[in-house]
Symmetry: C2
């Protein structure tokens, strides 16, 4: 029993475009139904059913039966980490594609990435925190400094670390900005705080985040970030996911 064939098995599952789209759609931690995932991945429900069965059998997805529909979500944060790692390599990939992501301005601006924030805003926040020596960051990990801890305490961000002394964060390469943003315990705490204080809110069914007017103010005063949303915000956030069937997801 070597490791090669085993990782091949998992990788092959992710290697199909339809399944990869499903997993991408679930990357923000939401739970979606089989039908929704079928539309999002651009295949017929029968096809999607087969894909979802494979992903569940392999332990990549967890499923919950509720009434006549089945809700799927990523089986664990480890799966999200794996997808993230794949994304990084896919982005770096051949040196050719130096261009950033076009279209979906809303997504580029602010979105969720499993349990933390991503996009321009998130990268800007990370930059600021590093610049002020509130966090130390590199590819192998990161940590909150004492100054940073005080900063977040003063801000009222609940780091959920009463019982656990260590204050970890880690870098997560932003696929639209190609720069690191904050993930891990600290990243999750920031997103939680932002949602609870209405700095940002989820847009429809997408992973995009809308920065509220209050959020713009707060982000400016707290982090010195210009967080005004792009002009074309709120336009078909999930449309980019469906390949063939451009139908609007019925919810």
């Amino acid at each position: 029993m070597d490791t090669g064939p085993k990782i091949a098995q998992v990788a092959a599952l992710v290697g199909d475009p339809a399944r990869a789209n499903m997993l991408s759609a679930l990357m923000d931690g939401r739970t979606l139904t089989a039908t929704e995932l079928a539309y999002l991945s651009g295949v017929a429900p029968q096809t999607a059913s087969g894909h979802l069965a494979k992903l569940s059998d392999a332990g990549l997805l967890a499923l919950e039966r509720r009434g006549r529909r089945r809700y799927f979500r990523l089986a664990s944060p480890l799966v999200a980490r794996m997808l993230e790692a794949l994304m990084v390599v896919a982005q770096e990939g051949p040196a050719q594609q130096r261009n950033l992501w076009r279209g979906g301005e809303t997504l580029r601006h602010a979105r969720t990435c499993y349990d933390h924030m991503a996009g321009r805003i998130a990268v800007a926040i990370a930059d600021r925190l590093v610049q002020q020596s509130f966090v130390l960051l590199d590819e192998d990990g990161g940590q909150l400094t004492d100054a940073g801890r005080s900063f977040f305490d003063a801000l009222g961000v609940d780091l959920c670390l009463a019982s656990r002394r260590r204050v970890f964060c880690r870098a997560c390469l932003d696929w639209s900005e190609r720069r690191p943003h904050l993930a891990g315990a600290v990243g999750a705490a920031i997103l939680r705080h932002a949602l609870e204080h209405d700095w940002v809110e989820h847009i429809r069914d997408s992973r995009a985040l809308l920065v509220t007017p209050a959020g713009v103010r707060e982000l400016a005063t707290t982090f010195g970030i210009e967080a005004a949303p792009p002009t074309d915000a709120c336009k078909g956030p999930v449309a980019s996911l469906s390949r063939r069937r451009a139908a609007v997801i019925p919810v």
Copy 2:
């Protein structure tokens, strides 16, 4: 340009058993020739050539022409991280396979994992360091405590952090032991130190490590670890990699 199809492209590359074997073989940072990789992955040289071309084009492998042979290695630590993440999910996978890895006692005992140590020894070291509060560790990262820093200083381990203040380490799930061992800057420093002081040495062409008598002594006094090598050590360390062609790799 969505992320789904892009990660699918990369995942599909890893999704073929032959290519997965090649990448696994390169996981320890070695550079191997096309012929060696062909044998290790169990396919004919022509087939391997095609696979290697694809992996190189996609930016997963870096190749260096020297004379009439081409040496391949992982293009970056990011690729190793990706494979590691895949391995974790592949191991966790379906709850059924609760059994540990059988065979290859030498590999299970001690081996390299890209730039750090893995196997029973590495897990034991990590356990010990955590137990003594020299490092803090969880899935999101890790960090060296002040006490830990003093410990390594006293030990003479060069953490290579003169210019960089942060002292990062991270957990890497050991695929044979299913428990975390140390990776990141600290993990790499430990392996470097162990090699420089002849605690361990590379076995032939495999990623397995042989713990020297001196190493057994030092590991016992330093970490309180019983590091005596298994009795069947040094037997065909790479044989487990070749599937069909069991020929010995000509070097």
